[in-house]
Symmetry: D2
Subunit: 492 residues, 4 copies
């Protein structure tokens, strides 16, 4: 608070992509709220700025939303006991600071003529601003700045009768990437957009059905994995069982490949593949493509670890913890003075000086976004006495922003969009620098390579090929900034 003018050291890495959300839902379990809290906790890596839950007890909906982690909002008995009912949906939110006002915290809830409706969204709509303008013109009042609210108003103003038909009617009008969990007075609904960009899985715990962004959220509650929700599928779970609808024209799945590179938890299984195994295979491919002699392979903690294990094994070079992570990373620390301004990264990491001094090291990291962290880590390794520093990146250069639900910098801030390989190597200060090839990445996911005609994944951040129209971007639309964003938020 009120420290805006002081120079601060932020130990939290903002030099990476951030997934924007995790979703979770339960239908038919007496501990629905507690299970949802646990599921959201397992999905905390997908969004740490806010968390919310809506439950239904057969008569009333109950809601609780708050800034901060799941454990900050949902670990007290009183919080859980107020969230009565056998159905629940929950949501973790990541967002850039300015937008994190409480009214944007999901699940959104609406009181329709036909009853209550709650919805949580992972992804991003690419024509939300355009649709919002049309809705406002006809008298709809928006209460948040989230794209998701467009879906709610489209349902409210739909001419169809049942809630499922209205929901489908609304989704046919939106474009973008979305994995949704929704709740009506008698059903839990899961939907994945026609390309299946964001993940969504179906699980089962005893008689209850579960929806979750990733399988690790099934594991934490001891639920069984049933199957992925398919691209373009809507599952309607009610007392009558599961109804599977395919309301959109069928398209081949094109799920986000960056989930494998960084977003998903390594213990999740996605599209039938182990994320951990895929990351190790990425390391193997990387070692094959860009071998270099060295004394040790060092992961940049923690996301670089599986890739480094794969690399080390393939290259026959010892895997070592050359960088130690501080487990107690706080938010910010005041920087003492100019003289020691380079401390930032050390709040989070420290070089294992005794071990790397005089050695040739290979650093393995998952990706390079702005490159600022890489510069600091290499500087730290040099300061600790490493003789040679080679950097290997477990993905192709990230040259384009994501518009499908990932918080990424402007193109102009992406290091790989501004520089060629040699310029990047110099800037980062390494002896050699290599990225994984696009085909190598696809191979690691079990494909023979990238199918240029019809790529098996969305890889727009690497290729610039956007598989879903960017209507708002192209129309020059910018999100109508509600004027009262200062309202409640961080204020206390």
């Amino acid at each position: 608070m009120a420290q805006s003018r002081s120079v601060i050291i932020n130990p939290l890495d903002n030099d990476s992509f951030h997934d924007e959300c995790g979703v979770f839902g339960v239908f038919g379990h007496k501990d629905a709220a507690a299970l949802t809290a646990l599921g959201l906790h397992a999905l905390q890596h997908r969004g740490q700025e806010a968390a919310g839950m809506v439950t239904y007890d057969g008569r009333h909906f109950h809601s609780r939303r708050g800034l901060g982690h799941v454990a900050d909002n949902f670990s007290s008995e009183s919080a859980i006991s107020q969230l009565a009912g056998d159905y629940a949906i929950g949501h973790n939110r990541y967002s850039t600071a300015g937008d994190t006002v409480e009214r944007n915290i999901q699940p959104l809830f609406a009181d329709f003529e036909f009853g209550g409706f709650a919805i949580g969204h992972n992804g991003n709509l690419t024509n939300a601003v355009t649709l919002r303008r049309q809705l406002v013109k006809r008298g709809s009042l928006f209460q948040s700045t989230t794209d998701t609210e467009v879906i709610v108003h489209l349902i409210a103003t739909s001419n169809y009768v049942t809630v499922v038909d209205r929901f489908i009617d609304a989704l046919k009008q939106v474009e973008g990437a979305y994995s949704l969990v929704a709740m009506t007075q008698d059903s839990l609904i899961g939907v994945r957009d026609p390309l299946g960009v964001r993940p969504l899985v179906l699980g089962r715990l005893d008689e209850a059905y579960i929806l979750a962004s990733e399988t690790c959220a099934l594991d934490i509650i001891g639920a069984d994995f049933v199957r992925d929700v398919e691209a373009g599928e809507m599952v309607v779970i009610s007392g009558d069982g599961i109804l599977s609808l395919h309301p959109f024209p069928r398209l081949p799945r094109r799920s986000c490949i960056f989930e494998f590179v960084y977003f998903a938890r390594p213990d999740s299984v996605m599209d039938g593949r182990s994320v951990y195994e895929t990351r190790k295979r990425i390391g193997v491919e990387l070692a094959r493509e860009s071998h270099v002699d060295a004394d040790m392979v060092i992961p940049v903690p923690d996301s670089g670890v599986p890739g480094a294990i794969g690399y080390a094994h393939e290259a026959g070079i010892p895997f070592e913890l050359g960088i130690i992570r501080n487990h107690y990373v706080g938010r910010t620390f005041i920087e003492p003075s100019d003289q020691i301004r380079h401390l930032g990264v050390k709040l989070k990491h420290n070089a294992n000086r005794a071990h790397v001094e005089g050695k040739r090291v290979i650093l393995v990291d998952d990706s390079i976004v702005r490159g600022t962290t890489s510069v600091k880590i290499v500087e730290m390794m040099r300061f600790a006495g490493a003789r040679e520093v080679h950097m290997r990146i477990a993905s192709p250069p990230t040259t384009n922003p994501c518009y499908y639900g990932v918080d990424t910098p402007q193109r102009s801030e992406l290091m790989a969009a501004k520089m060629d390989l040699e310029a990047m190597r110099k800037e980062i200060g390494v002896d050699t620098l290599a990225f994984l090839s696009m085909d190598g990445l696809y191979r690691a996911t079990g494909e023979p390579g990238r199918n240029a005609e019809c790529p098996q994944h969305c890889d727009a951040c690497f290729s610039g090929e956007y598989p879903i129209a960017l209507t708002d971007q192209e129309g020059g639309a910018h999100a109508a900034q509600l004027s009262f964003l200062t309202e409640v938020a961080g204020k206390r």
Copy 2:
């Protein structure tokens, strides 16, 4: 928290009527937010559960709303500095506990096609539920449980073009009591319902115009009183000056007489009459109507003081502080045990034992609602040794609930609706009990008496004559209870 099951002593008097709101607005002053904070502070007696403000700086609207007193939310420099702009409106809210969720705190703000719009409301709409149902059916999504939001949606869906025409269009559809302050991107608007039930005054501070519920809010900022906003008048204050509109059929003013009895601050001037003077006159009328021999006249603090002064003067009996008020009344205290359960009222008041022992006392109070406080106060006086206790009430018996913006108990909880005078006297435990007559009350406000054909005030709480249709009540409508009211409440 979590103490709901323990028996607690609540020293705050819930045995009285509570006004539901105070409103304030400034147009054209560089310190608009600070002035509004001060104005709301002067109007704190009209609503203590939440406070809010919206300002406009020519480009953006800024908002801040919070539970608690004005000083809790608007006394920090940072709070005020974030509320930039030359226009501001503010609102104090009273409400029963269950409804005090943050989303109900006013001013409400909406982002219309034609720009931002903020509104604050003192009063109550009597057809809000009926209108809400119609709006929901056509696809409007409500985000609060306040009646005021109906006006916002009626504006959004109006077919008129200008914001003023849309506002008038909306108001023509609503019934009830309202004094409104609203703000658009180029104007400050004040409106009083056709009967002028709730107060609203116009003031001036240098070049700036001020709207406020009472004149005491003009005094605190050193503004001059210009005039009352008239019953049925809309004033539109803009860069072009003040435009006065009378969009409704003209009716004789019928302002709430209970404002004189209890709600308004004694230093306010209402309908051209000093509230303090009127209360003293009430005491004089009361002494004339129901004289009794006694040693002293004692006000029930603090609302009974002016009436007691008038009574004492007229009766020629000394005015004495026989009940001392504790200035540090906190919210609640834990009750030690059954044996001393009668302490409740003592947290707030104590009998001046040394002074009343052995004396014949006349207690003057403003009104009797449930009667529970009266019972305790009389018990306290008896315990302190008063020889005779006579009670004189500065208003007629309150026999009917108010539907025009005052929080009152059900009819079945009103003592005077359940018992005749003698039964009340016994229940309260006094030697004699007398209420002011209806004509006496009207005389104190400067009238020759009540004009039964066309009463000069709304006196429904005394007479049961409701001057505005109770559409929702008669239609059996109950406010659609949004299901997620638990949302914010328990959270902090």
Copy 3:
């Protein structure tokens, strides 16, 4: 927080004397903690900055202390239930801002060789710094900056055996004013200094004994008043009953006369006299001494009310509420701009403009300290149109600081120490100004006048005659400022 550099309006009157403490104790009641909370609440006017309590359950002592009001710290069931036991002592603290760190909050507790001991103090020791130096030299470590801790160390290092003997030994070494409540493992002890400067009363509730600074604290719990603890008396309450000791040479009582003027609650009885009655008598004496023609007598709320009633009655001039007090005074408000810098006092008071306009008014206030509030109130009355403003002060000019437990400004800040009557009249801006005479004040307390040989009260603030040696002052001692006072302050 962190607003120290902004100009703020502090509506809380710092233009008055502040009593420094209230004490309370219970022996032998199962609700000891709850009763103590209520007693402290009734004594809240004696100290608002912090509150504390220590209880003993026969095996363990329990303590809770916190900044803020009693209700902030002791109104929750969990707070009370943790304070187990049948004995309790409690303390309200007033202090200047800098010293209000948590470690100074009383009761102080010490773990002696012979067991636990807790003590709460109203008053001030005038040789504390001198004694502290001696104790530190011998190896005693001080943990607070309170004078009271000296007593604790003197007990710890005493050569006597029993706790009562050690306590007496300690008190024989201290000088100053003190009313103490203390608790050992088997007794509750009350002590009043040899002159009885600060009040202390003994009460009874069923089988339990109560000690309290004022009788109003007995009233709130329904306890009977037994008697004042005498000047120089120590009462030791244990399972064996009450033991009354007089360990000091007997001196005539000389209790603080300012308690009658301002500190004590009007519903208390002190030295056998009703405080309210005494204040009314002061008003009568004042009217006799300095009559002036006028239209109304107006109290400066709230302390001026009894005096104004007495004055009005004696002078035959109507008593009127010409100044209305805002009941919702918050801590501070940001001042909007220079132009309206005079608002300060209006946050707390407003002139009853409609009533005073064109009138000749007599303002009655209890005392003048710095005079700044008087200047503002008179300005407010003039602004509201009063034709003549006469001020009558219900005490003699306050010309000297108090060293016996009252927070007073330096002598150089006392208006009456710097100016003569005419200069004060001009500065305050009144038509006439008069103070009560010293003899008038004594007459109001039931004496024939002040006995110059042996004054019946301590009146040092009016007379400059200090009845107890000011050892530290004369020795040039200043409280050793512990270096870590910043400790708690900024923390939350």
Copy 4:
């Protein structure tokens, strides 16, 4: 709060030893407080329950202490700016819940006759209770329940003149393990007990000297490592440079071997040896001693990682992340119901199911304390489908509590004190279980083996040989429980 009666899942591992403190000091740097905050942050693993700092600016001491992490208390600019001065000492505290009252947070500060003195302590005194009794008897008043306060009182009551002589006088009377940092008005002092049980290092940053528990705290501020403070050495750092004193009879160093096993950060260098390297060597020794065929070596995160790397390398079996750690571990979650009561460990860890299913796995963990976590982790691996589970422990069986500054369970709760190897294997549910031998552990620290005559380290937790007298234990002394421990705890 108020959840005491509900069954909760505590994801924080209380099935391990906890180091009790970290200390840090700076002499002669303008950013002393900021550097100390960073140093304490790097030492956060040594104590997470509270943090404190005292600085000296040449005239005043400043202090700030608070419950929680360093970042919770020392990351704001205002916190740091209040801690003025060029000298600072800081302290991280671990403690069992009941004792974490604010008054126990170090550094302790005392205001002696000769000036201020602050002290922070890592270790535990084994005759503190005995000394405390003697001090209390002579009139010393204790204000905390920490053993460290005994040293402060011994200094206060010493007959020596200079602060250094008094400090030495005090230390000659205490027994136990201690690494101390202390601060006087002109010096920073570091001391290590005669055996050097707890670590303490000396560093240099430009002209400033630094004291720290571990070298990782030098790294974070970019300071150079100078040397270990020697066992039994006192270093007095002042404007005159460093003075090295050896006030005690010289003994061979016998530093805690558990620091190498678990406490110290892997990037620290201790007694001249890399902790990370030592842990890898432990893994190597373990593989040599207890080889078993398997498909992969899996570390129990995170402390088992270096040992697992060494084991995997020596055994030629792949190192794999078979257990994934959740980075967002909150404090507690409500357990949904009996049926899924086994979730506890999953809040922190999840089995990498896709990777371990059907495999033979070797789990490497640092130690076994109660064994409860081991049981859960093995159960989790079995549930995930591991075919064989072998457990290898990177230390000998822990059979005895530590009395030298480590929080350990009673002997009766130590699994290895209650069962033989086979019983432990069965209880934990593994196919094979093996511990490192005592000689193997010593070999990993660079010794040829344990010297039974004169062991090179304190290994009492493994051997039961306590090198320092346990005076209080043997005398049956228990810490005098100050009676007011409830004081702060319950307050918020």
